[in-house]
C-alpha cells in the first residue's frame, strides 16, 4: 500500500482503511480508501498532475478540495454511462471507478499543445476574436483546431442507460449547506416544529467541521456534528439530503437541488459510498422545492494569491491542504511554503507541521504577522517572514521552489526576489469570499466589506437569510451563533414560536486583520513578467485584464467576456474578486464602484440527465391516441405525430412504400371510396342565449344567417388580421352551435374564445364545452361514399336533395346514434360521421365491412394532404405562419361586410393593403416531374448577384396520382395577378428549376364533385 499511496498518512482522517478501493486513472491502476474523493486518492498516490490548461496548455495540479477546483476536471465512467466534466474533488471514490483527464490530448505528461505556453504571449485576451478573424475562409479550420485542443470532457455517443427523476417538495425552511451554520439553523428550525429540508453537496454533513481541529461544547467538532445530524434524523419533519447541491434559486422561493444517488439507500449519509449497480435505481434526482423560508449557509471560498507562475502543480489553497490532511489523511507536500495576507493560512502551516511535513516558512505580507495563530506557529518553530511576499514559483510539472521578496505595499512595483526556498508545496491564502451565489441568484444585493475585503450579502429580495461563513462570519463560534440566529429568524418569519436553543460553546481565536494584496510585484512589469494567473481554468492573467482595459473595456461584464474570466465551471468561485480588484486598481476605482458580476444558475454543473428527469423516450411528451388507434396499429399504419396526437400516416398494403400507398389511397377516394379517422379535430360545443352574437364577433362570416341544420367553413383571425384557425361551424339549434378547430389549435382556440368571453364580453351568456375526446369523427369520402352509408342502414334519406352538401343531421346509422355532416376536405362527395367515442371502433369496423364491396381504402394524413392540396384547401400552419391574411389566401368571400369581427379593422392597415403581399398560388414544375421540397425559396431570375431577393416560398408540395404530375402551393409576392408567369425555384445541389404560376385549385376547380 505504501508504495501505491506514498502520501497517505498512517493515521487520522475520515477514510476507512479496512476498505481499500481500486480505481483507474488514465489507464493506470491506483488505490484509495472508502471515504476518499478521487482528488484525495490521486494526491495520496502522488498523481497530482491532472491536466493541461485550457488555452496555454500549462501543466496543472489540484488546487482546491471542493466545488472551487479549477483544474481537476475528469471524465468519469466509461461507455454510455460516462460523465464528462466532473470535478475530482467532488467525485466519491468507489471500487472500479474509471477516470480520465479531459484536458490536454494526448495526455498530461506529453502534450503537443504545450507549445502554446511558449507562444503564450500571442494568445492574450480576446485572442479568438483577433487572431482568427482573418482570413475568414480559414475560420472553420481554426474553429475545429481550437475545439479539439480546448475541449473538456467528451459526451458519450450512446443513450444514457441510467434513470433520473424529478421530485416536488414543499417545506417551511430549506437550509442550503450543512456546515456549522447550516446545522445550527436546521436544528433551531426543526426543534421549533418547522418542516425542514437540509441539503449539503458532500457525502457527509459537517462541512468545515469534518476537517478542523477545533472543539464544540468540549467535543471534537466532527463528533458534535454527528450528534446534531442524529437528532435531525429523528425529527419526523426533517428531510436530510446529503450529496445534494442546491444549484438554483428561482422566483418565489423555488429552488432546485441535484441529488446524487450513487449509493445504496441504507448507507446514505453515513459517509461510506458504495456503488449503485449500473442501470439500477435512480442515478440522480432533481428536487424542485418551494420553500417558505431559505437559510443560505454554503460557506466561503478561499482566494488564491496572484503572483508569477502561481498555477504550477503543487500550488494549493491553504484550506484545501488542511482538508486533505484532516479529512482524507493525505499529505500534499513534504516541504512547504505558506503564503498569506491573513491569519487563516497559519492553520495550514500548523496542520502541515503536525502531520510531519517541513514548513520552511510562512510568508506573510503583513509586517505585523498573525494574531494568536502566529504565536502557535512560532511555538512549533515555523519561521515566519512577515512583510514579505512570494513573487515567483520555480518548477514546471511540480513546484521546486519559491522566490521571496520584501513587500512595501505597492502592487505595481517591480521587485527582485532576495530569498529562494526549495519546496514542493506552496499553500496560499488571499482571504475568503463568502459563497454569495444563491443569495445573488435570488436577486439579493451585495455589499463590500472593507475590513474583510470581500462582498457579503446585504438586502435580500426573496424570503432568504444568509448565515455563517457565507454571511461573512469567520470564526467557528461566530458561525454557530449566526446559524442559530438565522434558524430562529426563519421560524419567526413564518409566525412560529422559535424554541430556545443554546448556542454551543466554541473558541474564538483573535485574528489580525487581512491586508489588501491583489497582485504581487514581479521582477518585470505586469505585461512582461511570467504569467500571474487570476482564473486558472480559463488562463486569465493580470496581463490579460490590463490588455482589455488598454483596448477600451471598462465595464466588468465586458472585461469578463473579453478575457473569459469566471467562465466554465468556475462561475466566479475562485478568480472573481481577484479579477475585479485588479480591474479596479487599473481603472483607479474602488472595488465596489467597479461592481461585481451577476451570478446565475447553475451554481455547479448539472447533468443533462437530471435536467431531463423522467421525460425521456416514451415519457418525453404525453401521447394522445384516438379511439381507433389500435385498429390503425393492427393495420400496420406508421404514425405521424401531430401535436401530441399520433395519427395514421398511411396504410401500406403488401409492404407498399409511402408513395405507392398514398397514390393508391388517393385514387381510391377519387374513383371509389376511402375512410379516414378525423377524430383529432378540435370540437367545441357552443350554446347560450348570446351565442350568435358571440360567434359573429369571432368568425368572419355572417353567423346569424345560417339556418339550423347547415354547416359553413369558418375562419377566425387574430386582432392583427392574420388567419388564426379554421374549421367547420354547424348550427344545430337556434342557440346551439358545434365548432371544429384544427388538430393543433384546439386548446388554443378554446382558450382564445374563453378569454374574450371572460375578460371582454362577460355580459354575453355563452357556454363553451370541449368535446374533442368525447366524439370521434370518421370521414367517408369518394363517389361511392353514399352507397357505403346507405348499405349500413340509415334512418334519414341521404340523397342530394334531402341531405345536400354542407348539411348536418342527427341520424341513426348502423343502429348507432350519430351526427352526420356532408362536408368534404377532399373535394369528393363525402360524409363525416360524428359518434360517441365508445362506439367509434364499432362504427369504423362496420364502415370497413360495408365498404369491402367498393374496395374501400382506409387512408392517413398523407393522402388527406394530397387530396386537399389538389383542391387548393389550406392547412393552418402550413400555408399560414401568423403573417398571412385571409385576403392573401383569396378568402375575401368569407369576410362579412355587414358586421365587425376580430381582426377586421387590421385588414385595412396599409401593410395589409400592399399589392405585393405574398399571395397563395399554385406552382407547376416545368419538367413535369420534380416535386419541389416544401420551403423551397422562389426568385424572379437566376444568375443575379447574391443576395438575390426572394419573391416567395413553397408551402405544400406533393406528387398527384390522379393528375399524373407534381403540384405545389406557394406564397408569392403579388402572385394572384401573375398567373401564367414563370419564376425560378432554388433547389439544393442542382440548377434552379423554372416553375409556372397557376391558380391554386388543380382538381375540379368548379367544385362539382362534392355536390353530387
Amino acid at each position: 500500500m505504501a508504495a501505491m499511496q506514498p502520501n497517505r498518512l498512517q493515521q487520522g482522517g475520515r477514510i476507512d482503511r479496512t476498505r481499500p478501493l481500486t480505481f483507474s486513472f488514465d489507464g493506470e491502476v491506483c488505490e484509495g480508501f472508502a471515504g476518499d474523493t478521487l482528488a484525495s486518492a490521486l494526491i495520496a498516490g502522488d498523481l497530482s498532475l491532472v491536466g493541461r490548461s485550457f488555452k496555454l496548455r500549462r501543466p496543472r495540479g489540484i488546487v482546491g478540495s471542493g466545488a472551487e477546483e479549477p483544474n481537476a476536471i475528469m471524465q468519469v465512467g466509461a461507455g454510455a454511462a460516462a460523465q464528462p466534466n466532473l470535478l475530482a474533488t467532488q467525485v466519491e471514490l468507489h471500487e472500479g471507478l474509471v477516470a480520465h483527464t479531459t484536458k490536454g490530448w494526448p495526455g498530461v505528461r506529453f502534450d503537443a499543445g504545450a507549445i502554446n505556453d511558449i507562444f503564450g504571449r500571442m494568445l492574450s485576451a480576446g485572442f479568438y476574436y483577433k487572431t482568427f478573424m482573418y482570413p475568414r475562409s480559414l475560420w472553420k479550420l481554426y474553429e475545429r483546431l481550437i475545439r479539439a485542443s480546448a475541449g473538456f470532457g467528451r459526451s458519450p455517443a450512446a443513450p444514457d442507460p441510467d434513470t433520473y427523476e424529478h421530485m416536488n417538495a414543499h417545506c417551511d425552511v430549506l437550509v442550503a449547506g450543512g456546515g456549522p451554520a447550516g446545522l445550527m439553523a436546521a436544528l433551531a428550525a426543526a426543534r421549533s416544529g418547522a418542516r425542514v429540508i437540509l441539503a449539503d453537496e458532500q457525502n457527509e454533513f459537517g462541512g468545515s467541521l469534518l476537517a478542523c481541529t477545533e472543539s464544540i461544547d468540549g467535543k471534537p467538532a466532527a463528533e458534535w456534528a454527528a450528534g446534531v445530524v442524529a437528532e435531525l434524523r429523528n425529527h419526523p419533519d426533517c428531510t436530510l439530503l446529503p450529496r445534494s447541491t442546491v444549484f438554483g434559486y428561482h422566483d418565489h422561493n423555488f429552488l432546485t437541488i441535484a441529488e446524487r444517488c450513487t449509493v445504496d439507500a441504507g448507507s446514505s449519509g453515513d459517509g461510506v459510498a458504495s456503488m449503485r449497480p449500473p442501470g439500477e435505481g435512480v442515478r440522480e434526482r432533481l428536487w424542485r422545492v418551494r420553500a417558505r423560508q431559505v437559510v443560505l449557509a454554503q460557506g466561503s471560498f478561499e482566494r488564491p494569491l496572484v503572483y508569477c507562475n502561481n498555477d504550477r502543480p503543487g500550488v494549493m489553497l491553504a484550506s484545501a491542504v488542511s482538508t486533505y490532511i484532516h479529512r482524507y489523511a493525505v499529505l500534499p507536500g513534504r516541504r512547504a511554503v505558506v503564503f498569506t495576507n491573513n491569519d487563516s493560512a497559519y492553520r495550514a502551516a500548523i496542520d502541515l507541521a503536525d502531520a510531519g511535513a517541513e514548513v520552511t516558512a510562512i510568508v506573510d505580507s503583513r509586517p505585523g504577522g498573525a494574531g494568536e495563530l502566529g504565536a502557535r506557529a512560532q511555538a512549533l518553530q515555523i519561521p515566519v517572514l512577515a512583510g514579505h511576499v512570494v513573487c515567483d514559483v520555480a518548477g514546471r510539472r511540480r513546484v521546486r521552489g519559491a522566490g521571496i521578496a520584501r513587500w512595501d505595499g505597492d502592487c505595481w512595483d517591480t521587485v527582485r526576489s532576495t530569498i529562494r526556498i526549495d519546496c514542493d508545496l506552496v499553500a496560499m491564502s488571499g482571504g475568503w469570499n463568502p459563497a454569495v451565489h444563491l443569495h445573488s441568484q435570488a436577486g439579493g444585493r451585495l455589499a463590500w466589506d472593507n475590513s474583510q475585503l470581500c462582498f457579503v450579502p446585504s438586502q435580500a429580495r426573496q424570503a432568504h437569510l444568509s448565515a455563517g461563513a457565507c454571511n461573512g462570519r469567520r470564526s467557528l463560534g461566530e458561525c454557530l451563533a449566526d446559524g442559530l440566529r438565522a434558524g430562529r429568524e426563519a421560524v419567526s418569519k413564518l409566525g412560529m414560536e422559535p424554541t430556545a436553543v443554546e448556542a454551543p460553546a466554541a473558541a474564538t481565536v483573535p485574528e489580525n486583520p487581512i491586508e489588501a494584496l491583489w497582485r504581487v510585484p514581479a521582477a518585470k512589469d505586469a505585461d512582461r513578467c511570467p504569467k500571474q494567473f487570476i482564473d486558472f481554468q480559463n488562463d486569465t492573467s493580470v496581463a490579460d485584464i490590463r490588455l482589455a482595459v488598454r483596448e477600451g473595456y471598462r465595464n466588468v461584464e465586458h472585461v469578463k467576456r473579453y478575457t473569459a474570466l469566471g467562465f466554465g465551471t468556475d462561475q466566479g468561485k475562485l478568480g472573481n474578486i481577484n479579477g475585479l480588484a485588479v480591474l479596479a486598481d487599473i481603472l483607479g476605482k474602488a472595488i465596489p464602484e467597479v461592481g461585481t458580476t451577476t451570478f446565475r444558475p447553475a451554481y455547479t454543473p448539472v447533468s443533462f440527465g437530471v435536467g431531463a428527469g423522467e421525460s425521456v423516450g416514451p415519457l418525453y411528451d404525453p401521447v394522445r391516441k384516438t379511439a381507433l388507434h389500435e385498429w390503425h396499429e393492427a393495420a400496420g399504419a406508421p404514425m405521424e405525430v401531430v401535436g401530441q396526437w399520433h395519427r395514421p400516416w398511411y396504410f401500406p398494403r403488401d409492404g407498399e412504400a409511402l408513395h405507392a400507398a398514398v397514390a393508391r389511397e388517393c385514387l381510391a377516394v377519387r374513383n371509389s371510396v376511402g375512410a379516414m379517422d378525423a377524430s383529432t379535430l378540435g370540437k367545441i360545443d357552443a350554446r347560450g342565449s348570446d351565442v350568435v352574437e358571440f360567434l359573429e364577433r369571432i368568425y368572419t362570416h355572417d353567423v346569424g344567417r345560417m339556418k339550423i341544420g347547415r354547416c359553413v367553413y369558418g375562419i377566425m383571425l387574430g386582432e392583427d388580421g392574420m388567419l388564426m384557425d379554421d374549421g367547420v361551424m354547424a348550427r344545430l339549434g337556434e342557440q346551439h352551435f358545434y365548432l371544429t378547430t384544427t388538430t393543433g389549435g384546439a386548446a388554443h382556440v378554446l382558450g382564445w374564445l374563453e378569454k374574450w368571453l371572460q375578460t371582454e364580453w362577460p355580459e354575453l351568456e355563452v357556454y363553451l364545452t370541449s368535446l374533442t375526446e368525447h366524439y370521434s369523427t370518421i370521414a367517408v369520402a369518394g363517389p361511392n361514399s353514399r352507397r357505403v352509408l346507405e348499405s349500413l342502414g340509415c334512418d334519414i334519406p341521404l340523397d342530394k336533395e334531402s341531405f345536400p352538401f354542407m348539411a348536418v343531421r342527427p341520424a341513426v346509422l348502423a343502429d348507432m346514434r350519430v351526427t352526420l355532416f356532408r362536408v368534404s376536405f377532399s373535394g369528393e362527395l363525402a360524409f363525416e360521421i360524428n359518434i360517441d367515442s365508445n362506439f367509434a371502433l364499432a362504427m369504423w369496423e362496420r364502415v370497413m365491412e360495408a365498404g369491402k364491396a367498393f374496395d374501400i381504402a382506409p387512408y392517413g394524413t398523407e393522402t388527406m394532404h394530397v387530396l386537399r392540396a389538389e383542391k387548393g384547401f389550406i392547412i393552418v400552419g402550413q400555408e399560414t405562419d401568423g403573417s398571412v391574411t385571409p385576403v392573401d389566401l383569396g378568402m375575401n368571400w368569407l369576410l362579412s361586410k355587414e358586421k365587425d369581427f376580430l381582426g377586421k379593422r387590421s385588414l385595412r392597415r396599409p401593410d395589409c393593403l400592399r399589392e405585393d403581399r405574398k399571395q397563395l398560388i399554385g406552382l407547376l414544375s416545368s419538367d413535369d416531374r420534380t416535386v419541389l421540397p416544401e420551403g423551397t425559396q422562389l426568385v424572379e431570375e437566376t444568375g443575379k448577384p447574391t443576395p438575390v431577393p426572394m419573391c416567395g416560398h413553397v408551402t405544400s408540395s406533393y406528387r398527384s396520382a390522379c393528375l399524373g404530375h407534381p403540384i405545389a402551393l406557394a406564397l408569392v409576392a403579388g402572385g394572384r395577378n401573375r398567373k401564367g408567369e414563370t419564376i425560378q425555384a432554388v433547389l439544393p445541389d442542382r440548377e434552379p428549376l423554372p416553375v409556372q404560376i397557376v391558380a391554386p385549385t388543380f382538381y375540379d376547380p368548379r367544385g362539382r364533385r362534392q355536390h353530387v
Partner: protein
C-alpha cells in the same frame, strides 16, 4: 417559477397558467372609426412598466378561468390576484373578491367566488 394564487383554486405553480398580457386593454367599440394610428395603439402598444403591472392570467391546466394579477415587474412580487369584474376588460371586481398573495400567506384562497 412564480407561485400564482388562482382566485378559485389557490396557490399553484406558474406552469399551470398561461399569460394573457396587460389587463385593462379595452377593445374599441367602433374599430372602423379609428385612424390607423389609433388602431395600432390598441393593437401593439403596451405600457410595459417598471414596477406594478396589472395583467391577465388563465389557469389553463386547472379551472380554466381568466383572472387578474397585480405583479411587480422588477421584483416579481405578486401583490394580489383578483376576480375580473362583470364589466369586463380585466378590471378588478368592484365587490373586490381579491386575494392577497403576499409572501407566506399560502392558505388564502378565493372561497365564495366559484364562478
Amino acid at each position: 417559477m412564480l407561485l400564482i394564487e388562482c382566485p378559485w383554486c389557490g396557490p399553484r405553480a406558474e406552469t399551470e397558467f398561461s399569460y394573457g398580457g396587460e389587463a385593462g386593454i379595452v377593445r374599441p367599440p367602433d374599430p372602423d372609426a379609428l385612424s390607423d394610428g389609433e388602431w395600432a395603439d390598441y393593437l401593439f402598444f403596451r405600457a410595459n412598466p417598471r414596477g406594478a403591472h396589472r395583467e391577465l392570467w388563465n389557469h389553463a391546466q386547472g379551472c380554466r378561468r381568466w383572472f387578474g394579477l397585480e405583479r411587480d415587474t422588477v421584483t416579481y412580487r405578486i401583490e394580489r390576484s383578483y376576480v375580473l369584474s362583470p364589466a369586463g376588460t380585466g378590471t378588478p371586481n368592484v365587490a373586490d373578491n381579491s386575494v392577497d398573495a403576499g409572501a407566506g400567506s399560502g392558505s388564502a384562497s378565493g372561497a365564495g367566488n366559484g364562478g
